[in-house]
């Protein structure tokens, strides 16, 4: 019988690390227990790309030796985690969730994985993802080598993507935390749909070396965890300059909740319409409570207006142009036809035909958007809005259509905060904040570049006063 108690599968990083140091169980026992769960439950939700049992048990033995000799390497030491299968891990397949790359093996390991392993983190598996991280666009949740990501709260619904396996694995207690990536919404969306906490770091803060590129000017790597505090601990380990990543901002990050600004000095902007007509009616009561909890933190809540720009056309043009340029060899080889989603295939092909003038126009408007957000965030420290305005859709629902037939509110509120925040390279944190008909909903916080500590401080204080992040789906034991 395992000496690892069941509650550990849903415990936070600090608690597990302390119990390892107290030798309540060994890192090897812990890794074995998580591997069992990942290999048994992961495939039920199409969350697992590759189990790394053999390697992780070897690494866990080393961690046990280090703990025995009191060579302590920080809170991530001995903690099992997973990585989206867009991150290279030497000598093992890295499929990017796509059939044409199912046998792809790199000789090197992504910088972020190296960094976590230096801290004693235990990589238990590669996690499923939407093929090519979503590419220009896809129509169905089934756009993945491993099938549609099934939501642990209701397996007839989608997990969200493109970091689908990462969010599923955290929500179902298959790993303690996971790495995901975001070009436009791929960390925040699955985090909200699966009821976990996700952090999209400032563009350039976390190295992308060894990660699949979809858009050079938009891609970010970030953690999906149980809490804001865990996101801070993981970000501290993975952030920092990297000579192998041309986009690196060469900045470090230290998670310092003890030095957080007094929240009474913090201005939080929101659009009332988002919390009334905008969001799903079944979740409005929970969002109203979430807003009151934010207000009760002592922050100054003010109404915010989104600068008016064609966010959707701008970001779609940029992702399609850059994505098709990146995957031009795949498209021209004809192997693009092996992808699962016809809309994705067509999007990649058509993206090669986007005129340079249209890409440049999108980038010129993007410069104006960045300027407008600099102005907005000079008077408002943080913007908040529902992460997604509807709960997870059914897995058969077309994703290139609106997810609701409710009429759009007369004013748009901050509905375009995901594309806007990505175009500006801004950090964002998604917190579980309630449910709509049994499905989790999220609240996103967006701040100025490199304001992760402020977002995490608000997130942690919010989670100190709520228990949404502690709830988990009734997933059967392995």
């Amino acid at each position: 019988m395992s000496s690892v108690p069941d509650e550990i599968f849903f415990a936070g990083i600090s608690e597990i690390n302390q119990r390892l140091q107290k030798k309540e169980f060994s890192a090897r026992e812990l890794a074995r227990a998580f591997c069992d769960r990942l290999e048994t439950i992961g495939p039920r939700y199409n969350a697992l790309a590759l189990s790394l049992r053999k390697d992780v048990l070897r690494d866990a033995k080393d961690v046990d030796g280090d703990i025995k000799r009191e060579r302590l390497r920080g809170p991530l030491q001995g903690i099992p985690f997973g990585a989206k299968d867009l991150l290279a891990y030497a000598k093992y397949p890295t499929t990017w969730g796509a059939k044409p790359y199912e046998d792809q093996i790199f000789k090197y390991t992504a910088s972020v994985l190296h960094r976590i392993q230096k801290h004693g983190g235990l990589l238990t598996g590669k996690l499923a993802m939407v093929e090519l991280a979503g590419g220009p666009s896809y129509r169905f949740a089934s756009a993945s080598l491993t099938g549609p990501g099934l939501n642990p709260w209701d397996a007839t619904r989608w997990s969200g993507g493109s970091s689908s396996g990462s969010a599923i694995a955290v929500a179902a207690g298959l790993v303690t935390y996971a790495l995901g990536s975001e070009t436009s919404g791929s960390i925040l969306t699955p985090s909200a749909f699966c009821g976990v906490t996700g952090l999209r770091p400032t563009y350039g803060l976390v190295s992308r070396h060894g990660a699949m590129a979809l858009s050079w000017t938009l891609d970010k790597i970030g953690p999906i965890c149980r809490s804001a505090e865990d996101c801070g601990l993981v970000l501290e380990a993975i952030a920092g300059g990297d000579a192998d990543d041309p986009s690196s901002a060469r900045k470090s990050f230290y998670y310092t909740p003890q030095y957080a600004r007094d929240l009474k000095d913090v201005t939080v902007g929101y659009a009332p319409v988002d919390f009334s007509e905008g969001v799903d009616p079944a979740a409005r009561a929970d969002y109203a409570k979430a807003l009151e909890t934010i207000r009760a933190l002592g922050v100054q809540l003010t109404e915010a207006k989104m600068p008016q720009f064609p966010y959707g056309p701008v970001i779609s043009t940029i992702i399609s142009s850059e994505g098709s340029a990146i995957f031009e060899p795949l498209i021209k080889s004809g192997k693009v036809d092996q992808l699962a989603d016809q809309h994705q295939i067509a999007g990649l092909r058509a993206g090669l035909e986007i005129a340079a003038k249209d890409y440049l126009k999108a980038m010129r408007i993007r410069a104006l958007i960045q300027e407008a957000f600099r102005d907005l965030l000079s008077t408002t420290d943080v913007l908040i809005a529902p992460t997604r305005f509807t709960p997870a859709p059914k897995i058969t629902q077309p994703l290139d259509q609106p997810l609701t037939d409710r009429p759009a509110p007369a004013t748009p509120g901050l509905t375009a905060l995901i594309p806007a925040g990505n175009l500006c390279g801004l950090p964002a944190l998604s917190l579980p904040c309630g449910f709509a008909n049994g499905m989790p909903m999220g609240l996103q916080l967006v701040g100025s570049p490199f304001s992760e500590n402020l977002l995490l401080a608000i997130g942690k204080t919010f989670q100190d006063r709520t228990d949404w992040h502690k709830r988990h789906p009734p997933v059967a034991a392995a």
Binding site: G204, S316, D337, A350, G425
Partner: protein, 70 residues
């Protein structure tokens, strides 16, 4: 002569393609005609995106965003 919008053109193209399509046995890979229809539809979407960008009043002195490190 009345002007045909891109949206109307897309509907007409896909409707005529549907009428011309013959019933085919189920298969895992879409037939070429379906792939062509999908490609035409996406091209049309991209044209619509370009039209939406064109409608934005862009000042002459607006330069492309080239610095991504905030």
């Amino acid at each position: 002569m009345s002007k045909v919008t891109r949206r109307e053109l897309a509907v007409a193209v896909s409707a005529s393609a549907l009428l011309a399509a013959r019933p085919a046995p189920a298969q895992s890979v879409s037939p070429p005609s379906a792939q062509n229809n999908e490609l035409d539809a996406v091209r049309m979407q991209f044209h619509q995106l370009a039209d939406q960008l064109d409608q934005f009043p862009l000042p002459m002195d607006a330069e492309p965003a080239t610095i991504f490190k905030p």
